[in-house]
Amino acid sequence: MSLMVLREQLNVLVNSMFLEGLLDAQFRQLQMLQDASNPGFVAEVITLFCEDSERMLTELTKLLDQAVVDYQKVDAYVHQLKGSSSSVGAQSVKLSCIQFKQFCEENNKEGCLSELNMVKHQYYSLRSKFETMLQLEQRIQAYDSEQQN
């Protein structure tokens, strides 16, 4: 597959993610910070985001599984997740976190559980697209370095 086709596929993918509200303008900032001297920047940030998020989702699941929920701890993790999703431009995840925080403040267990499911759903949809994105990026970069050799 030619480099041009790969690039086109990547553009289409990223644009669709913007249109669907999965990503926001912050992601464009990340793309701007990637250049020839830092070709792996976006991939690095996405990877960190995914590692962070999965860790937090695991903790949140555990906390909400308790008979008596420690809402302070739940809030602390949601706050972290909201922060990292905001930093990477993961809009749908971020919006879900905002709703989650609301339920937390109300000490609403039902609401928290339902929102946790929503966050997971949003996160995993995003993750699968991120995976495709990173694969395309890798292939493009392999092409680029081949061209240089």
Partner: protein
Amino acid sequence: MAVVAESQFHVLAVDDSLMDRKLIERLLKTSSFQVTAVDSGSRALQVLGLSEDLTSSPAVYPAHNEIEVNLVITDYCMPGMTGYDLLKKIKGSSSLRDIPVVIMSSENVPSRINRCLEGGAEEFFLKPVQLSDMKRLRPHILKGKSKEQQLQQEEEEEEETSISSNKRKAMDEELSPERRRLRLSNNNSLI
């Protein structure tokens, strides 16, 4: 060198989130700053040469002025020492208080912002920090540097005056006791 070249300013970035550290590091480097990124307020104080641990052995204590930091940019919400706590420690230190401090936060809380500004922070950045925010840093660094230079000048002038008065003192002491007595008696005769 007569001309001060566009030398790289050194920014100390403090954030407990690895992701946000990567981000701020890249933002700063893209804007031509030299960066040291740490994950806590206490680590930041170590880099700044302010050891909190008074029992640490002299060998461990970093040399004064080992690393020159021109600006500190710190997250507000951190476990242990918050960005605000770090700000107060820096502003409360005679050696560090002229270093400009910028606070970052994901939450737009006016009372928090005011508290930080009143505590001596130069600015408050809302996260996620943007490339365009980096432009706001240089003026604070330059202001800090001119304050530093002013202080240095004042210190040098003070030193000079004290050196010359010390010289006079030393000269007086060098005079033999006899001659000093003579001078004293001369004075007495005038009364």
